[in-house]
C-alpha cells in the first residue's frame, strides 16, 4: 500500500512539475515562435513580392476562414495606389511532398503580381531551383487571373523546369488553387481591407 502510494505520489508530482515547467516555457516562447515563423517562412517571399509596397504587409496581416481552414492574408499597397494581397497555397504532389507557394494578386487589375516558393522538400539542385532560381516562378508575373497556369505539357502556359517536371507541376497546382481561392474570397477580402 505504501509502495502504491509512493508510486502515485511520485508520478503525480513529477507530472505536475513537468506540466508547470512546460507551460512556463511555452508562454515565454510563444510570441517569439510566431514571429520566427513569419520571419523565416513567409517574410522573405512577401518581401520579395512586395518589394516596393508602401505599407507593412506583415503587420497588417489578417485571417480569413474558408470552410475548415484559416488562411493568412497579407495586404500590400502598391506604389501606383492599387491594393494587392498575398497569401499562401499548397501544391500537392511535389517530388518530396507538398510545396508552399506565396502568391500575390493585384486586386484592381485582377492579375498576379508574382509568386514565390515558401516551403518545399525538393531535391537540392533539381526541384529546389524552383525556389532558388526565380526564372521559373517569374513566369507567373503579371499573368491575368483567367490565364491557364498549368504546364505546357498539360496544355497550359507555363514551361516546366527541365529535369523537375514533378516540382513544376506541383507549383502550378498551387498557383491554380490560388486563382480559385482568390475568386471565392475576393468579396471577403474587400470587406476586410476597407
Amino acid at each position: 500500500m505504501r509502495e502504491m502510494l509512493s508510486m502515485i505520489v511520485v508520478l503525480t508530482v513529477l507530472a505536475s512539475v513537468s506540466g508547470g515547467l512546460l507551460a512556463a516555457v511555452k508562454s515565454g516562447t510563444e510570441l517569439r515562435i510566431e514571429e520566427q515563423v513569419l520571419k523565416f517562412q513567409k517574410a522573405p517571399a512577401i518581401e520579395s513580392l512586395f518589394s516596393d509596397v508602401t505599407n507593412d504587409p506583415l503587420k497588417e496581416r489578417f485571417n480569413l476562414e474558408t470552410g475548415e481552414t484559416t488562411i493568412q492574408i497579407f495586404p500590400g499597397k502598391m506604389p501606383d495606389g492599387s491594393m494587392a494581397v498575398a497569401f499562401e497555397t499548397l501544391g500537392k504532389g511535389g517530388y518530396g511532398g507538398d510545396i508552399g507557394l506565396m502568391v500575390a494578386i493585384d486586386m484592381d487589375k485582377d492579375q498576379l503580381v508574382g509568386a514565390r516558393v515558401t516551403t518545399h522538400a525538393e531535391t537540392p539542385g533539381l526541384g529546389s531551383r524552383a525556389k532558388d532560381d526565380l526564372t521559373f516562378v517569374s513566369q507567373f508575373n503579371d499573368k491575368s487571373l483567367d490565364t491557364n497556369l498549368a504546364l505546357k505539357a498539360d496544355n497550359g502556359t507555363i514551361s516546366a523546369i527541365s529535369g523537375a517536371t514533378v516540382t513544376s507541376r506541383a507549383i502550378t497546382r498551387a498557383a491554380i488553387e490560388a486563382q480559385t481561392l482568390y475568386n471565392d474570397l475576393k468579396p471577403e477580402i474587400m470587406k476586410q481591407i476597407q
Binding site: M7, V10, L22, T29, T123
Partner: protein, 202 residues
Amino acid sequence: MAQSLAKEFTKGLWAEIPPFRLVLGLCPTLAVTKSVENGIGMGLATTFVLVFSNLLISLLRNVIPTKVRIACYIVIIATFVTIVELVMQAYTYPLFLKLGIFIPLIVVNCIVLGRAEAFASKNNPVMALADGLGIGIGFTLSLASLGAVREILGAGTITIWGGSPIFDMSNWFHPFTFMVEAPGAFAALGLMLAGMNLIGKK
C-alpha cells in the same frame, strides 16, 4: 574519483561513441546529417536532454519507485525534449525546420533512455553528468563528422550558420548527390563504421 570521472566522460568519445559503438540513435543520425550544421544542431539538442535527464534521474534515483521508473524517466526526458523543442523554435527556427520531427523524437532516442536506465539510475549525479556529457558530445562529434563527409561529397561545400562556405570545391566537383539522399545516408554510415572497425576497437 577524478580518474573515474574522466573515464566516464571520455568513454563516450571513443570506446562507446554512439552511434558507431553503441548502435543506437540511428534515426536522427541518418536523417539529419545532410550537413555538418544539422548534425551539430541535433547533437547539441540531444546532449542537452541527455545531460539534464541524466542529472535529474540520478538525483531522484532513490525517490523513484522501481515499478514506475520507466514512466518517470519518460516524463523527465519528455519534459526536457519539449523544452528543447520550444526553445529551438523560438531561437533557431531555420534549424528547427530542418530537424523537423526528429526533435520530438529525441524522446524515444534509444541512447537517452538507455543511459537513464543503464547509468544514471545507478550512479551519483556527478558521474551521471559526466556520462551524459561524454555520450552527448561523442554523439555530436559523430553526427558532425558524418555530416561533414556527406556534405563535402554530396554538395561539394561545407557551410555553417549561413555566410559563405568554409570549404568549397564545387567549382570543379559535380556534387555526388547520392550522399545527401536517403540511400547514401545508410551507405555512408556503414562505410564509416567499417573505417572505425579498421582503425581498431577500443
